[in-house]
Each structure stands twice: as C-alpha cells, then as structure tokens.
C-alpha cells in the first residue's frame, strides 16, 4: 500500500546516475517537483490540520476541564470528567445501549445481508432490479427516512400495526416503550443498511471460482456442505471487512436516534454518539462531551487497529 509509484521509482534511479553536466539542473527539477507536490497536497493537509487533527488535540484538552462553553474561564478538573463518566450509572447505561445497538444492528444486517446475497446469486431473472431496490435505502437521508419510520411505528395507525395484526399480535407502543424503542431503531438501521452488506457479499460470492463448487460436488458434498466448506471460508475476508466497517458505522449512527427517540424514552436508546451530542449541545457540558467522545474514539481506534493487524496477517499468509 505504501510502495512509491513505478514512475517516480524509475525517475529516482535516473536522477542518482552521476550526470556531471545536468546535476544542478536535475536538482532544480527535483526541488520544483517537491514544491509542486506540496502545492497539490496542501489543501487537503491544511483542512485536515485545522478541522480534524487540531480538534482531536483540543478535545483532549477540553476533556480535562469543566466548561459551559459560554463563561470566559475553564476550570481544570484533571481526569475528573473520565472518573465521573466511568462511575456514573447513566453513562454505563449508555455504554450498554451502544453495545446492544451495535450488536443488534451489525449482527442483523450481516446475517440478513448474507441471506439476500445468496438469494440474488441464484440465476433468477430481474435479480439486478432486486439488488437495486435492496441497495436504495442506503443512499436515502437518514433524517427523512427516520420520520417515515416514526409514522410506521405509530401504534394506532402505523404500517407496523397492520403487519402484526394478521398474526394476532397487538402493536407495542414502540418508541414510548423502553424495550421496544431499542428494537425499533435497530430495525430501522438494518432496513437502511442491509443493502450495503448484501451488495458487498454478492460481489464476494461472484469472485468464488466455480470449479471449487464442481470439485466439492464431485466429492459428493451436498448443498449445505458446499456452503459450509466452500462459500463461508471463501467469504471470510469480505465478512471481516464488512464486520469492521459496520461496527464503525453503527457507532456513528446519529440521525436515526436523534430524529426517532432523542435517546429516550428515559435513556433507553441513548448511545455514545448521542450522549456526546447531548452533553455538548443540549447540556452545554463541553468537558464531559469531549471525554465521552474520546472514549468512543478509543473504542473505534481499537477496532480499526485489530482490523489492520488482521489484514496485514492475511496479506502475509496469502502472499
């Protein structure tokens, strides 16, 4: 991934050749190329510096003070915000919610996504159309679609009541119920994102060489055994990629929760990202918000590093 480009490599070889005549010229050319390089990457680097890296450092500082974002002075509290959060039972609920939401949403969308991909991998007519339908919700505004789902979950007139009615199940009060609210936001998340997993799984299925199946067939493996011994192992790198990206995405799921429940009822759907927003922009507690956001950052960083390490090993073994 980090190898330098072939063109610059050959060019570099040329420039190290002792060219008595053109040495100063070559040096000048190299310098102007370096300048051009800096000019080209400058917009990206400057913007990342101001709006990504500096805020990260500043968050670290903010997490060590108490500040309402209005008063001119900030009170130094050291690790006070962190110790407060980790001993606060409300924050522990938030952590628990985050893991339930992530587990349900990731597990649900990967499992259903795999089933959908297996279906759309069959030689059925119109399957490209079905793929387009399944993928569509991924691209729609989470804020707008969440409003539609609040209407769907309306216990008196909603679509969900109609769906449950034939089975004789009375509609729960969904978003007003501390148990059902979490299930509702997970359903919405899965509905919106299952298409992504399905499309990626499908691409993965299509890269599995056909002769592996033929060989398994010759060995007398039934459909289930072929799935278990050929499909699943061949899909494992892509499953891992999906697992990690889905985990990172669910940690950042904000619009669904903000629009549908605002973290309620009584914190039942309050996840780390919503809690961060609430502490910062509703309670104006900058220190606590920064500390919570950094806790989330560390969790996400850990997941990413595990992925990088795994990916490295895979490349090593594969090569």
């Amino acid at each position: 991934m980090l190898e330098s480009s072939p063109i610059s490599a050959t060019a570099a070889q040329e420039s190290t050749r002792p060219a008595v005549k053109g040495r100063t010229g070559a040096r000048r050319a190299a310098r102007s190329e370096s300048l051009l390089f800096l000019l080209f990457v400058a917009p990206n680097l400057i913007l990342f510096g101001i709006f990504t890296y500096w805020p990260l450092i500043y968050s670290g500082y903010l997490s060590l003070v108490r500040w309402d974002m209005i008063s001119p002075t900030k009170t130094w509290v050291g690790l006070g915000n962190y110790t407060y959060l980790l001993s606060d039972s409300a924050f522990r609920t938030v952590l628990k919610n985050t893991f339930i939401f992530t587990g349900g949403a990731v597990g649900g969308s990967l499992f259903l996504g795999l089933l959908i991909a297996l279906l759309l991998n069959q030689p059925l007519r119109m399957r490209d159309g079905a793929r387009a339908v399944v993928f569509a919700p991924t691209l729609l505004s989470g804020a707008a679609i969440s409003i539609v789902w609040v209407y769907i979950f309306d216990p008196r007139y909603g679509l969900m009541r109609q769906v449950l009615d034939p089975f004789g199940i009375p509609s729960p009060t969904w978003l007003r119920d501390t148990t059902w609210a979490m299930i509702a936001v997970i359903i919405v998340y899965i509905w919106k994102n299952v298409g992504f997993a399905a499309v990626i799984f499908l691409a993965g299925l299509q890269t599995i060489p056909k002769d592996l199946y033929e060989a398994a067939k010759v060995d007398g493996a039934g459909a289930f055994n072929r799935f278990r011994n050929v499909t699943l192992p061949m899909l494992s790198p892509i499953s891992f990629f999906l697992l990690v990206t889905s985990i990172l995405n669910t940690f950042q799921a904000f619009d669904i929760i903000q629009v549908m429940t605002e973290g309620g009822p009584v914190d039942a759907t309050n996840t780390l990202i919503y809690y961060t927003y609430e502490q910062g922009f509703v309670a104006f507690n900058a220190g606590r918000a920064a500390a919570a956001s950094l806790i989330l950052f560390v969790i996400m960083l850990t997941v990413t590093l595990i992925q990088l390490r795994y990916a490295e090993r895979r490349v090593h073994y594969g090569g």
Binding site: L2, L38, F51, F135, S141, A144, I152, F196, I238
Partner: protein, 310 residues
C-alpha cells in the same frame, strides 16, 4: 435459504423428479425475491401514499392503501391531489432549504473532487522526500470520527475565530462546507486508480515534454473518468444527506440544509399531521431517488469495487 438444490437427497430415492424439484426451487427463489422487494419497498410506499392522504384517511385502521386523492377521474382530481405538498411547502421555507442543500452539495462535492484529485496525483506521480508521511497523515484522518471533531470545530468557528478578530462562521455556507472538504478515502481510491493507468501513455506524454498540469488535465483525468464519476456520485450523496454537522453549525432556519430543515419541520408539525410531514420527506428524498434511478449501476459497482479491491 429457500432455494433448494437439485443435488439434495441423492442417496434417498427422490419423492419428486429432479425437474420438478428444480422448478420448485425457482418458484421459491422468485417468491423470496418478491418478499424481499416488498419488505424493503414498503416503507417508501407507505411514505408515498401517506403524502396523498387526507387527515381522516390517516387515522383509520386498517389503513387505506390507495388514498382518495389518487383516484383520478378528472383533471381537477389530479390538481387537487397535491394539497399536502402545497401545505408543507407553505409551512416551512423549503425553497430556501433546497437552495442551501444545492449550494452545500455542489460546492462540497467540487472541493472534495479537487482535493482528492490533486492529492492523489501528487502521491501517485510526484517525487517528494517524505511522501509516505504525507500519505499516512491523510489516511489517518479516517480514524478520527466526526463526533470527536464537531464540538471543537463548533467552538473554533463560533468562538475562537471571533475572538481572533475573524468573522464568525456559524450560520455560514463556508462554516458548513469547509470542515468536511478534506478527503481521505477518496484520495486513497483515486491514487489506486491513477497507479493503475497504462504507464506507457503517461511516459509518452512526459517524453513529449508535457508538464504535470497538462498530464493531469489531458491524460490522467480523461483516463480515470469512471472512478472520478463514481467518487463524485458518492460524495454528492454524502453531502446531500449530511446531518450532524449542519445541525450543529446552523441555528437560523434560513441557513439550514433540507435534512436539518425536515427534522425541525417534523418537530413543529408533531406526530399527527402525517400527510403533510410525508410530503415534506418526499421533498428531501426525491432528488436522490432520481439520481439513483439514473446512476444506480455506477454507484453500486463503484462501491463494491472500492470494498472488494481496497
């Protein structure tokens, strides 16, 4: 999976012939596919018919599947069908929301394209002593999630900048757009694409004495067009749907993009006036649905290529 396979049960004597089995499997497959499309499409259908329902049609159970407003028998009916849309349009400044979203999306996407192209070109073709360090600095930004940066950025734009004698960027287009204008993943994608271009052509251009600007403009960009289009589409969708940052950095209605506008509109209308609210959500979703219908293949293939090769 509902799809049965003809190889099942080869040991036992099959109860039905292989052909019948295969046909059954196909029927089950189509049934599952229809069920799938209904499950995914139902919420959108519900939104669409909701937008045409009169108030008394909203509050009935079992629900009305085809509202009166859509039973067109005369031209007058067709005109009258849109009352909810008109009411929504009058109840909130949607034309302003559209203008804001268009500005934010188009400028944001253009800046992302320029940033990603320039950085990717530099990383792919230009010599620089600390190139890997620059590459890592750009890629590592992927690991810093939005929720860490929104609070400091808000403080920076709304408090630090005025204190330094600079303008306050809260409630401005530049305040909404610029913090999201740097590109990490797109730079990576484009760099990969640029490195995959046929080198002979680029070398030939070099021999002909073409400068880097000309090589970039005349050779690299045309050859990398498919990737650029995909990246532009994905960037456009992300900008149009962006919610958290615009929600935080705007507190005046006139500066809101349509995603934030619809959420506030929903807050005001509440959980009863569903017809009008659904009409409003259609305002938000319709432009993207049109883009999707037009570029569906491009978007899906671009995303899968990015995931399976990257």
């Amino acid at each position: 999976m509902a799809v049965s396979s003809p190889v099942d049960g080869r040991a036992a004597k099959p109860l039905i012939s292989l052909r019948a089995q295969r046909r059954l499997g196909r029927i089950a497959g189509y049934a599952a596919m229809i069920l799938l499309c209904v499950a995914i499409g139902a919420p959108l259908f519900w939104m669409a018919i909701g937008a045409f329902k009169a108030r008394q049609e909203i509050t009935t159970f079992p629900p009305i599947w085809w509202p009166e407003a859509l039973r067109w028998t005369s031209w007058r009916d067709v005109e009258n069908a849109w009352v909810n849309f008109r009411e929504a349009w009058d109840a909130a400044p949607f034309e302003r929301f559209y203008v804001n979203s268009l500005i934010i999306t188009l400028i944001g996407m253009t800046l992302e394209l320029i940033n990603a192209t320039l950085s990717a070109y530099a990383l792919a073709f230009l010599r620089f002593p600390h190139k890997n360090l620059v590459f890592i600095l750009i890629l590592a930004a992927l690991m810093v999630p939005a929720q860490v940066t929104v609070l400091p950025n808000y403080i920076f734009l709304g408090k630090t900048m005025p204190e330094l004698g600079l303008p306050n960027w809260v409630n401005t287009y530049q305040g909404i757009i610029l913090p999201g204008a740097a590109v990490a993943y797109g730079t990576f994608l484009l760099r990969q694409a640029f490195l995959g271009l046929p080198r002979e052509v680029l070398d030939a251009a070099k021999v002909d004495g073409a400068g880097h600007m000309r090589t970039l403009w005349d050779m690299v960009l045309p050859m990398a067009r498919p990737v650029l289009v995909t990246f532009a589409l994905i960037s456009m969708v992300a900008k149009w749907n962006d919610y958290l940052w615009p929600l935080i950095v705007t507190n005046e209605e006139r500066m809101r993009p349509i995603t934030v506008g619809i959420a506030k509109f929903f807050d005001n209308e509440g959980n009863t006036n569903w017809g009008v609210v659904m009409a409003g959500t259609i305002f938000v979703i319709a432009p993207l649905l049109v883009v999707y219908l037009w570029a569906q293949r491009h978007i899906i293939e671009g995303i899968t290529a990015g995931a399976t090769k990257g």
